[in-house]
């Protein structure tokens, strides 16, 4: 199994942590509000939507921790070159954070795809997750496979929201469709970031814009 890494400028390290903190908070906010809607309406799709976004929130939090470990490690190695920056504990924690990030993001997006496709049979969701994990575990390129599998889920979700918007256009349905569309575009860029580090940076900013639109849609509901 190969994990492809990409070289990103050090200045982006801090920005990336801030962006991931925003991702964590926005996804948690949507999860929280979807759960609140479930608590009032007792509708199953709202509960599953909430769990899906909670999965994404945990995934981004894991990535945030991972980048914090890396950033502090890099800075330590610059200041103290004789000290081995990445201790074995830090390395182990980083590997655990990567695995947890992939697990929660894949599961979260699989659940969101399952909800938006209006499936009722839970076995379909289990099938989606099982196939995704088999694809990840036996892939020769873990990072590329991870982003491509999650992009497939995002493509289905975006298409569903496009159809919804085309059927019944409202400002909120447009914001949600564009939000997931940008999230997809950012994710595809991240898939190919190992060959061009600029894609790693633009992928994050595009996804940030996508989450800003999802947040705007949520705020339009809450603030009314």
């Amino acid at each position: 199994m190969r994990v492809v890494t990409c070289q990103t400028p050090l200045w982006f390290g801090t920005s990336e942590i801030i962006i991931q903190l925003i991702f964590t908070l926005v996804t948690f906010l949507i999860a929280f509000y979807a759960y609140r809607v479930y608590a009032i309406s007792r509708q199953r799709p709202s509960l599953l939507f909430s769990i899906g976004f909670l999965g994404l929130s945990i995934a981004y939090f894991m990535q945030l921790l991972l980048n914090y470990f890396i950033l502090t490690g890099v800075r330590t190695s610059q200041l103290l070159p004789n000290v081995v920056a990445a201790s074995s504990t830090t390395l182990q924690l980083s590997v655990i954070a990567v695995i947890l990030h992939m697990f929660f993001k894949t599961t979260g997006l699989a659940l969101l795809a399952y909800v938006t496709l209006k499936e009722r049979n839970m076995k379909i969701f289990i099938l989606l997750v099982a196939i995704s994990f088999v694809g990840l575990v036996f892939s020769g390129f873990l990072s590329l496979s991870f982003f491509l599998i999650t992009s497939i889920f995002l493509a289905f979700i975006t298409l569903q929201y496009y159809r919804r918007h085309a059927r019944k256009p409202t400002t909120n349905s447009l914001l949600v469709f564009l939000g997931f569309g940008l999230f997809l575009l950012g994710n595809i860029q991240l898939a190919f970031a190992s060959s061009l580090s600029l894609l790693y940076i633009s992928g994050h900013f595009i996804a940030l814009l996508g989450y800003a639109l999802l947040l705007m849609s949520l705020l339009r509901v809450v603030m009314r």
Partner: protein, 95 residues
């Protein structure tokens, strides 16, 4: 012809009909106010009792039933618009 009501709208109409009757209603009144078939109304009532939005009271003396709103039912009515907007925005309607 009026637009077909969604599930959330039907639930709102049932709960609102009970509220407008002072929080307790007889099944015949509810059938008339909710504009549903007898079978559909029973299905919805079963669901609303399961979700703890409504309580069923049985009077053995008259062999009659009444339905009352619970706190969860009142909460649903109060938050209905926000719930609807959220559900519509993110496409979470139950089919």
């Amino acid at each position: 012809m009026s637009k077909k009501r969604g599930r959330l709208q039907i639930i709102y109409d049932i709960l609102n009909a009970i509220k407008l009757k002072g929080g307790t209603i007889k099944p015949t009144h509810l059938l008339y106010k909710s504009n549903l078939s007898h079978q559909m109304m029973n299905d919805y009532l079963k669901e609303l009792i399961g979700k703890e939005f409504v309580i069923e009271h049985e009077e053995k003396k008259n062999n009659s039933k009444t339905y009352s709103l619970t706190k969860k039912g009142y909460d649903y009515l109060a938050e209905y618009k926000t719930v609807m907007q959220f559900v519509e925005s993110f496409g979470l309607e139950e089919e």
